[in-house]
Subunit: 305 residues, 4 copies
């Protein structure tokens, strides 16, 4: 079961599809193996970048079972939903299948501090003792969650054990949360998303690791490992080497297609298919990715000699 | 099966709950009977005011089956969903159960004309030959659908047979759509929502009736009937008599609680419960509704003498 | 100078233009006379419905001076602005010209409780001892201001003496603010907008009057007067008689054109011109207004016999 | 006068303030000199990152005059405004003072393709023969401008000579616009913003240069120059060296404070003051910038040996 001590790299898994848009469960296996091999310490599935909203409830459950059957790593399941009945159904079947916890983003209709707190009260009530991750991703949810609101949720809801941090800008938020836990608030795990674009500084501010799906999970694993042993220079060298592609993959909307393209190229999944409605990469974009990958490999080779 | 000739009053049905939040299927029966008795010519279920987003997929299906089993009126099922897999699953099980058609609102992420058209192309592809209703409700969806976009969808998607019109302001939109069909575009049915606040003028502009859930469906039935026989004065008399309560019930958010309170008072459903998260009426609000209903009855009595 | 005891009807004044879009200062005079004659106890100028955003700073100042020169009623000037420098400039020149206070809506970029409070701290600092009105109009500003935030602003900023209340739904907000002042918070004036659509219930909840620009200011004056002497039945009779037109004029966007059309018809201003970019009334809309006005006059005549 | 052939680097200038928030006109001079020395081929002032909204109209005019007096480079003035009267006033005084053109972002209230086109028709009418730049920055304006809309504006409004491109993702948009001009549409200048984060790929797609304010304008100058002579490897080397800081400065909101901090450190302006309401850098952020600058200098030194 997920708890406040979680750290390392929870990879945001994609959901693989066949060229006709059907679920590709065999690629789920190869993808899980790939993430494990590249250094993941946990997996997060059915998140926004996992195209969760495009799955039927049967498909969601099939993905959960397949992933959990393939690995011993802790698995967090995204259960964000317009209503609590569907959230509860997926959370409960996922925990029964062996998930470590669930992740919930706030619905875009929340407007005030009190509405956000009230929403997570309801979540906690609906989910019972299931450990939960608060996903803070204003760029997509359009809900700005102030530090005071996070602290209130942490105080009121003991099952909230982790923040998926992807506010932008969000570095001061990490510092403020860590100052609050230093001053006595319950300390929860903070894993950072945003495609890894600020992982370096996030670790310096007190994050416990990454939760993101950049198609080279070894970047996150290496940066987090280097920071843990205090080798900031190496962490920066690695980070900077991957940054041009990190940046390119972080483009909203089309980023998912870029990521799947790279994962397919690396053999993690069989097809780069994004389910409809979704973007497709142009030839120009495919060339741009290839050029970035080539330079990235050169730079990594230079660094490792 | 629903087609372009649909008219009259399709009542937006609420979803009845027991005080503990569980589905109240017995009240589904009494509610359907009530709507039929008050003059509905069709029913629309699982819409926004039907708290569709709060139901699990099993619950949604149970409501669909129960409603259809209770009436011979055509039933339209709201199948709006973040993804096409879930939309397809509910649409297909609903049509199998005997629904007349489905209704789809655009997701709030659509931003441009082309994105909206593309979305409804995908809807049409996903739903095959199921007749569909385009729900145009910018106040809630935050998607503004121009007349040109509606006409393009009507042109491209033969299964789009009805517009649920609740843009605000939207009177010119009705006029423009009717001018377009007079000039040769396919004429689809236009039924109007917005709690009935503009029903009078909407009929004058060429609407075919109402699709809304005001707790006195006889208002919509009487106004539409009077307009059909050309008795505008009586239509206005009736409309004006109900307007103070129409206006009160049209308050966003809390409107659903007001409506269910009235429906429970009228015996249509057993409990006024709104499922969490949802508003509850204050004592002051309950008094305000009572005062409005009392004056409404007086005014109607005056008119009928 | 405006203070917490303000009550009655502060009419939201329009800004009259000539057919070519130039300021029509002569109509400013006739409009002020009209509002006074119809029962206004104050005027609010350069609000959202005063097309304030479309004026140059020179034009804004010219309107302020002209209005204040024409009447002894207290005049509130809308000074909302993207920045404090422009806000300060207009506030200061308005107060020098004899204004009673200023009104400020929150900019749409504010997202959290703390940001809203911080913004009004900055406003208070920028405006010194100028009395201020907090405009709470989420439908237009997209900023939801919780009761706790209003109370914090009232506590921190002694120059905030009035709430222009047009949240929707907002009746519970009035009750909560009045409960807070009954329990010891500073009591500020609450005048209500939203085109007058809820004036009846707003008065019952504890509002001090109206601040809105419905083209028949005598409606607000009569309703407020009736409520003050405790004649709720008469207040409701009057309110209901005007409600069909109130509702029609409250349509967003086009409402301003409807209002100016009526004001021009009533002789308050010379031309119904809305400055570009702005809507124009169709022939159908003009007929609809005429029909509503005719019935309104009949109903008022009935009531007064 | 600005025309469709403009290219190179138009630096987005900041607006310098004294520690008390007053305009720092002496720093305007040193800043202009700095931009010129670092390779700017033009300047863009009073943009979003120029804190334009926080200036009074007098201050805006003072900045325009001071900048133009200091340099012979073409100067573009941001004149975005809630209304055309204020836009026209600033545009006209700027052109009289010697500006090369003006830039206009769409107001956040525009929702449909037709509304955007209509808005720029009105802009063109208001500005007469003043050359204009269409600023396409959805992350801030919340207005998504499709390629078809840009092409319609280009077709209808001959004074629209440049696109400030900062859609995100926006690479396909550049390709589509260039394909359209290859096929016969009028070819306008495309200069790219977004802090320079995609400058490399933007140039590959057919952009004519950069219009952004990254605190090391020499990055943009060097990348654009290298691309112009076809040295893509050098362009990438330079780009990658600056990218960690580019990314850090591109954080919304706080980015302006980071940029001014760096500009002050480099001697371009005397004080890093951001006018209220605005962010302030924490000590941690200042350390992060210092670390990034140090590595950047090392990397540049490596590349240049």
């Amino acid at each position: 079961m997920l708890d406040e001590t979680a750290k390392g790299v929870f990879t945001i898994a994609c959901t693989p599809f066949l060229p006709d848009g059907a679920l590709d469960l065999e690629s789920v296996d190869s993808m899980v193996d790939f993430y494990v091999e590249k250094g993941a310490t946990g997996l997060t599935i059915l998140g926004i970048m996992g195209e969760a909203g495009k799955l039927s409830s049967e498909e969601s459950h099939a993905v959960v079972k397949r992933v959990i059957a393939r690995t011993d790593l802790p698995v967090i399941v995204g259960v964000s939903s317009p209503g609590f009945a569907a959230m509860q159904a997926l959370a409960s079947s996922s925990m029964d299948a062996g998930a470590a916890g669930v992740m919930i983003a706030p619905p875009h209709t929340l407007k005030t501090d009190q509405q956000i707190v009230g929403y997570y009260h309801n979540v906690a009530e609906a989910l019972g003792d299931t450990p939960g991750v608060l996903q803070d991703f204003p760029l997509v949810t359009d809900v700005v969650v102030p530090v005071s609101v996070i602290l209130k949720i942490v105080e009121d809801c003991p099952t909230c054990v982790m923040l998926k941090h992807e506010d932008w800008p969000g570095l001061e938020k990490i510092s403020a949360l860590r100052a609050a836990s230093d001053a006595g608030a319950r300390r929860i795990s903070i894993l950072c998303g945003n495609g890894g674009q600020f992982l370096l500084e996030e670790m310096l501010r007190g994050a416990d690791g990454a939760m993101t799906g950049f198609a080279y999970p070894e970047m996150m694993a290496d940066v987090v490992a280097a920071m843990e042993v205090g080798d900031e220079v190496w962490a920066r060298d690695i980070f900077d080497a991957y940054l041009p592609l990190v940046r390119y993959e972080a483009q909203p909307g089309i980023g998912m297609a870029i990521r799947k393209h790279t994962l397919a190229n690396r053999g993690a999944i069989a097809h780069p298919t994004v389910r409809k409605p979704g973007p497709k990469l142009s030839e120009a974009a495919i060339r741009e990715v290839a050029a970035l990958v080539e330079r990235q490999e050169q730079r990594l080779a230079e660094l490792r000699t």
